[in-house]
Structure formats: structure tokens, C-alpha cells
């Protein structure tokens, strides 16, 4: 059956002399894979529409019970050209694709995830700074889409709004439950909590860190480039989100783009 669907290109790999095997996240069918014959030759009909990070319209011969479909045509809707013009921006965008690829399964439809991918890539494409923030905002919103929405607003025990006072590190975030605890409800950490399994830890979070993480999770993506935070707050937030995502998504052992993030992308 010949079907037409809007897609984000997640990754592509070389196949034989001139072909490509491309992984897409589609609006109607979730993650699908296709083979594009002749896509690497100079006169190919696909152009840049099959390059990772592209937002394209795909026409594919889709067969039941098959993992690999034959790509008939692919036209670019938005190539997100600026994403590939800056190394930091590109690394942030690729880390978003890698995570989306890891947490999704073959042909499991999730239109909300597709729309989130389009929104985050298009705002990142137009952004001028804070590229890393877009990746972390995507991670928190992705967790929410999969039913692991964190709560940064009220204490999970007493229900009060946090933070209640002015002390630094007064708020604690529990990775397992994805909720914050106010200073009154949280007891000092025991040896188990800061032991070998850090995933189970209650992580202390500064007031600035809490504000930043609320912005990443709640505010409009287009306003992320206006955030101003110091390196310590950035590091603290980054570590918390990394552990939270790793704990809730079993598929993620290690993200290859994470190494790049640490080496090449400047902090918030």
C-alpha cells in the first residue's frame, strides 16, 4: 500500500553502493524504516530530504509485517538548515534524535511525540544560544509524554508549594518518584541513598536549579534562549535530568551523543 506521511528523519545509514536505509519518526505510523534506492548518487531524486534532522513528506510502499519498506519519494518540508550550521546546535539536535530513536519502538504511533519533535527542532533551528537547554527541555517533556511527568511544584509529602524558605539546597528531588520534597519533609540522606546506586538517590536541588528545571519543563520552547544561568546551576540540572531519564527509560544504557555534549557543547 502506498502511503503518505509527515516524518522527521532520525538516522540514515549507507546500504550497498548507492542506497540508504533511513529511520523516520512519522506522524501516522510512529517509527518506521525504509530503503531509498540510489539515494547516495549525485543525481538522486531525494536531495536533502533523507538527511537526519529533516522534516519531510514521505511516500512509501508500506507492507504489513515488514520492518523495511521501499521509499518511493521524499520531499523536504523544512530541512532545518541552521541546525547543521553550528556544531553546538547540531550536537544538541542530534542528541534529541538519538533519544527519540532509543525510547520508541517500531510502528508505535505517538502523534504528540512527533509534534514535540517538530516543535523542538524548529525552535532550536531559530535559536541563537542555550542550545543544550532545548535538549533537556525535550527530555523532560518526552518523559511526561510517556507517563513519567516530574513534579517540581509541590512537596510530594505535605503538598506545600516549594521552596518554602531561602536556604540553598533546601529542596530535594527523588529520582524514583519524580517528585520534589521540601526541606521539612526530607530527612538527611542515609548511606543507601548516596551509595553505589545513585539512581535511587534523593538529589539536592538549589533554588536556582529548581527555577531552571521548571522553565525547561513548563515554559514555551521559544523562550529558552533567554535563560541566564551559571555553570553550577546548569551542571546540577543536567545531572538530575540525565539520572531521571536513565532511571525511567530502560532502553537507555548510554547515549552516544552524550559524550559529545560533555566535550563540545558549552554549558547553558
Amino acid at each position: 500500500m502506498l502511503v503518505k506521511t509527515e516524518v522527521i528523519v532520525l538516522r540514515s545509514m549507507k546500504y550497498r553502493d548507492t542506497s540508504k536505509i533511513v529511520t523516520f519518526y512519522s506522524k501516522e505510523y510512529g517509527k518506521i524504516k525504509g530503503i531509498a534506492k540510489g539515494a547516495r548518487s549525485a543525481k538522486n531524486k531525494f536531495g536533502s530530504a533523507l538527511e537526519p534532522l529533516s522534516h519531510s513528506m514521505l511516500l512509501v510502499y508500506k507492507k504489513e509485517h515488514r520492518d523495511l519498506h521501499l521509499i518511493s519519494q521524499c520531499d523536504s518540508i523544512n530541512p532545518f538548515k541552521k541546525l547543521t550550521e553550528n556544531l553546538d546546535r547540531m550536537t544538541a539536535a542530534l542528541s534529541i534524535l538519538e533519544l527519540a530513536d532509543h525510547v520508541t519502538h517500531h510502528e508505535e504511533k505517538n502523534s504528540a511525540l512527533f509534534l514535540l519533535l517538530v516543535e523542538v527542532l524548529s525552535t532550536l533551528n531559530e535559536s541563537t544560544r542555550n542550545f543544550k537547554a532545548y535538549s533537556y527541555a525535550f527530555q523532560l517533556r518526552l518523559a511526561a509524554l510517556f507517563g513519567y511527568a516530574p513534579n517540581f511544584e509541590t512537596c510530594s509529602r505535605c503538598g506545600k508549594n516549594v521552596p518554602a524558605g531561602n536556604n540553598e539546597n533546601q529542596v530535594t528531588f527523588q529520582i524514583t518518584s519524580g517528585a520534589v520534597l521540601c526541606s521539612e519533609c526530607h530527612e538527611p540522606p542515609g548511606p543507601r541513598e548516596y551509595g553505589s546506586d545513585r539512581n535511587l538517590a534523593f538529589m539536592p536541588l538549589s533554588v536556582q536549579g529548581l527555577q531552571l528545571i521548571r522553565c525547561l519543563f513548563g515554559t514555551q520552547l521559544s523562550s529558552l534562549e533567554n535563560l541566564n544561568y551559571d555553570a553550577h546551576t546548569g551542571n546540577e540540572t543536567e545531572e538530575l535530568i540525565r539520572l531521571y531519564i536513565k532511571y525511567h527509560f530502560d532502553e537507555i544504557k548510554s547515549l552516544k551523543s552524550e559524550k559529545y555534549f560533555q566535550q563540545h557543547v558549552s554549558i547553558f
Binding site: R16, K43, F46
Partner: protein, 199 residues
């Protein structure tokens, strides 16, 4: 249980390890070898062993060669002030076919790929930097594939090389000769317009 002779099966198994060759093709090739004259089979076997024994990487440009340094690096007629950086040895062949470039090459052995975990340490980037300390280079031409990996490598290398004070250029991107403008995609056409030159 073998359907043919054991040696045919073994040969087919070896052929099947090659990229793009499935089991049926491997069997067909093995049976074709059986029909070939003995001298031709010996020449083929010798050629295979020679490739492994004689071919190595050039200590200067990392291209594949039988003599170290390679024929391009040891050629005194080549311009030594410009280096063309490419991903793979077959890219050198493609550029040499144009007869337009008279300088030297540097083969990176791949491209940066954050999605595959290929970083700067996995490529011959340190070797490229070493070349600048030994000789004076005026221009570095980045001739990398126009895809995400090629773009990432181009951006990384330009960031690394520009502070060293040399001219860093990249090959133009645009329409292939003989194609029609109306069938070009937006990204290619945009880049072709950006890279327009005065005539």
C-alpha cells in the same frame, strides 16, 4: 550436511562475509571459481594476499599506498602549500580524476558522527595538525560529504584550524552537472544560490 563439496561450502562461506554478498551469490561465485582456469584462480589468490601484504597507510596523508610516503606525498611537482582533507581513500581517487587539484591530501578515515559515537579521536585529526607544525600550509580545503556527518566534521575542523591562521575553505555545494533545476530540492538550491560566483 554439505550439499556440494566441503571446500566449495568453505569458499562460499568466505564470499558471504563480503559486503553486499548473500548466500546465493556466494555459492554462485564459488562455483564460478571452480570453472575458472587454474592460472586465473592463482592470480586472484595472489592478488588477495598482495593487498594484505603490500598495502599500508601513508605515514603523512593516511592514504592507502604500497610505498611510504605515497606517490602523491613524494611527488615534488605537487603544490605543498595546500592540503585537501577528505573522508576516505576513494575520495582522493574521485578528486584526482578531475586533474584540477595539484596539492596534497589528508585522509581522515571517516567523519565525525555523534549518533554513532565517532569522535575526533577516532579520526586522523592529530596527524593533520602535526603536518602544520612541519611545513607551511597556506590553504586547507575541506572536501567532505554534504551530509550531517560531513557538516559536523567541516564545522569542527574549521573551528580547530582557523585560529592557526591559515585559509580554510570548503568545496561548493549545489546542482550536479546535467541535472534539471526544477527537480532540485530546496536545501540544494539554497546552497547553490549561497555559493554563486560572478561570471
Amino acid at each position: 550436511m554439505f550439499y556440494t563439496a566441503e571446500s566449495i561450502e568453505q569458499l562460499a562461506e568466505q564470499f558471504a562475509q563480503l559486503p553486499g554478498i548473500g548466500r546465493k551469490t556466494a555459492h554462485r561465485l564459488a562455483l564460478y571459481i571452480l570453472k575458472m582456469p587454474r592460472e586465473e584462480v592463482e592470480t586472484l589468490a595472489k592478488a588477495l594476499v598482495n593487498v594484505k601484504d603490500k598495502v599500508r597507510y601513508c605515514s603523512i596523508c593516511s592514504n592507502i599506498t604500497e610505498t611510504d610516503p605515497c606517490s602523491i606525498c613524494s611527488n615534488t611537482k605537487r603544490e605543498r602549500a595546500s592540503i585537501c582533507v577528505v573522508e576516505e581513500p576513494h575520495d582522493v581517487i574521485a578528486i584526482e580524476k578531475t586533474h584540477e587539484f595539484k596539492g596534497l591530501y589528508h585522509v581522515l578515515g571517516g567523519a565525525l558522527s555523534p549518533l554513532d559515537g565517532i569522535g575526533p579521536d577516532d579520526l586522523k585529526i592529530k596527524e593533520l595538525l602535526q603536518r602544520f607544525s612541519n611545513t607551511t600550509i597556506d590553504e586547507v580545503i575541506l572536501a567532505l560529504n554534504p551530509n550531517v556527518e560531513g557538516e559536523a566534521t567541516t564545522l569542527y575542523l574549521s573551528k580547530l584550524l582557523k585560529p592557526l591562521g591559515m585559509k580554510v575553505t570548503r568545496i561548493a555545494r549545489g546542482l550536479p552537472v546535467g541535472s534539471d533545476l526544477e527537480f532540485a530540492d530546496e536545501a540544494t538550491l539554497t546552497r547553490a544560490l549561497e555559493g554563486r560566483i560572478a561570471v
